[in-house]
Amino acid sequence: MSIKTEPFILNMGPQHPSTHGVFRMRVTLDGEVVVDVEPVIGYLHRGIEKLAEGRTYTQNIPFTDRLDYLASMTNNFAYVLAVEKLAGIGVPERAEYLRIIMAEMMRISSHLMAVGFFLNDLGAMMTPVLYMWREREKLLDLFEMVCGQRLTYNYMRIGGVSHDIPEEFLPALKRFVAEMPKFIDEYDQLLAENEIVLTRTKGVGVLPEDLAINTAASGPVLRASGVKWDIRRADPYSIYDRFDFDIPVGSVGDCYDRYWVRIQEMRQSVRILEQAVAQLPEGEVCAKVFQLLRPPVGEVYGHIEAPKGELGFYLVSDNSIAPYRFHIRPPTLINLTALKEMVIGWKVADLVITFGSIDVCLGEIDR
C-alpha cells in the first residue's frame, strides 16, 4: 500500500555531504522513494585532455596526479605504462617492483577512504573514517618519505621512477604490512557484522552481472557483481604475473558486496606487498630516457587495474614532443552509468549509500 504523492525534484549537490566532491544528482522523488536520477557532472572540469596536448610527455605526469587524487600514484603508473608501450621503453627491475609496491599501497589507501566514507554515508558518524584515516596516514607518511608529497606524488617517470626509496622506507613498510591485517580484522569487527549495516546494505543497489558487464563497470564494482575480472590477472601488466594473490568476487552485486570486495582486496594487496618487499632487487630505478621524448607515430591504449576500476590512457603520437591525443578512460565515470538502474525504487538514503559504494572521485570524472 502506498499513499499517492506527487513526485518532486531534489537537487542533491553540488554541495551535499554525500556527493564526495562537487557532483550533482537531479533526483525525482516520490515521497522518499527515488523515481529518477540524472547525474549532472562537470563542476570540476579542467580540460586535462586538452591541456595535455600542449605539454611534453613528462610534463603530463603531474596532471595525471590530479585525476583520482585519492590514488594519484596509480594514475602516474597507468600513464607511464602507456607511454612506455607507445615508445617501446624498457623499465629496470627494481623500478618495476617499486611501482608495484606503490600501486598496491595506493590501492589500500584508496580502499580505506572508500570503505570509510561508505560507512560514513551509512551514518556511522566519522568513526570508521577516522580509524581508516589512521592507517591511510601511515601510508601517506611512506609516500611522503619517498617523494616528498602526501597527495600528488608525481613519482613515476617514463622508464622508471623518479627516486630510489630511502633506507628507512623498507623497515617502515614491513612494519605496516605486518600490522595491517590486524587493523583490517578490526574494521570487520567494527561494522561488517553489524545488523544495521547488513540491513542497510544487503540487497540494496544491486547491480546484476549482465548489466555490470554491459555498462562496462570495472574494479570492485564489477567484481562485486560476480565477474571475476581483474586486469592484473586478465591482462597482466608490469610484473603482476609474478605475484600470488586472489581476486575476491562478490555474489549479488549489492552495496554490501562492494564493501566486502574492497575489504578483501586490501588483504590481497597486503599479500602482494609482502611478496614484493621480499623480492625487491637492487639496481637502477630509471632507464635513460630523453627528456623531450618523441615516440613514433602510432596510438596506444594502456589500461591498468586502478583501485576504482579500469584506468585507461589512450594516446596518439605524431612523433612530436607532445601527445596528439590524450584520452583518459576514467573508471568511476563509467561505473556511474548504471547508477539509475541501481537506485530506482529505493529511498534517498539508499541512493546515498549506493553512490558511496561505487566510490567515485570527482577529479577523475570531470577531468
Binding site: 500500500m1 502506498s2 499513499i3 499517492k4 504523492t5
Partner: protein, 161 residues
C-alpha cells in the same frame, strides 16, 4: 489568584480562536490552533482538572494538531489561503444569535452550584470512574472500537486504489 489567570487565559483563548478563523495563512492558523489547545489545557488547570489538562496536551497538541498540519501540507492549500465563502454574513448572524442565546441561557439559569471543594488529584478518581463499578467500562470499550474503526477507515480512504 486563579481569577487573574482565568482572565488572561480566557482572553488569549478567544484571541487564538479568532486568529484561527480569520488568519489567511492556513499554516499559521493551525499553529494558533495548537496554541489554543494549550491555553485550554491551562483553563482545565484552573478548573482543577490536572489529568485532563495533561491529556489535552497529549492528545490535541501531540496528535490532532500534527494530523491537521500534515493534512495542510498534503493538500498544499497554504498559499491559496483561507478565504471566506458566500455564507459569511449569514454565518456571522447565526453565530452571534447563537452566542446571544447561549450567554442568555448561561446567565439566566439558576445553576445548582455545589459547595464541595474540588477533588485533587483527579487521576485515581477518573480511573475509578472509568473502570470502577458502575463506571463507563462499556463506553471505554466502544470508544476503543470507534478509534479502531476510525483508523481503519482513514487508511481505507487514503490508500490508493
Amino acid at each position: 489568584m486563579f481569577d487573574i489567570v482565568f482572565w488572561i487565559l480566557a482572553a488569549v483563548t478567544v484571541g487564538a480562536a479568532l486568529a484561527v478563523v480569520f488568519l489567511r495563512d492556513v499554516f499559521r492558523a493551525a499553529l494558533c490552533l495548537v496554541f489554543l489547545f494549550f491555553t485550554i489545557a491551562g483553563i482545565y488547570i484552573t478548573l482543577h482538572a490536572d489529568f485532563l489538562a495533561v491529556v489535552q496536551v497529549l492528545i490535541y497538541v501531540g496528535a490532532i494538531s500534527i494530523l491537521i498540519i500534515v493534512a495542510i501540507m498534503l493538500t498544499r492549500e497554504v498559499w491559496r489561503g483561507s478565504p471566506s465563502g458566500r455564507l459569511r454574513i449569514p454565518a456571522l448572524v447565526v453565530g452571534l444569535l447563537l452566542l446571544g442565546m447561549l450567554m442568555f441561557t448561561a446567565m439566566s439559569t439558576k445553576w445548582h452550584i455545589s459547595d464541595v471543594p474540588p477533588q485533587e488529584p483527579t487521576t485515581t478518581a477518573i480511573g475509578a470512574g472509568l473502570f470502577g463499578d458502575g463506571g463507563f467500562l462499556l463506553p471505554v470499550e466502544i470508544a476503543a472500537v470507534l478509534l479502531l474503526a476510525a483508523v481503519l477507515g482513514a487508511i481505507v480512504l487514503i490508500r490508493e486504489k
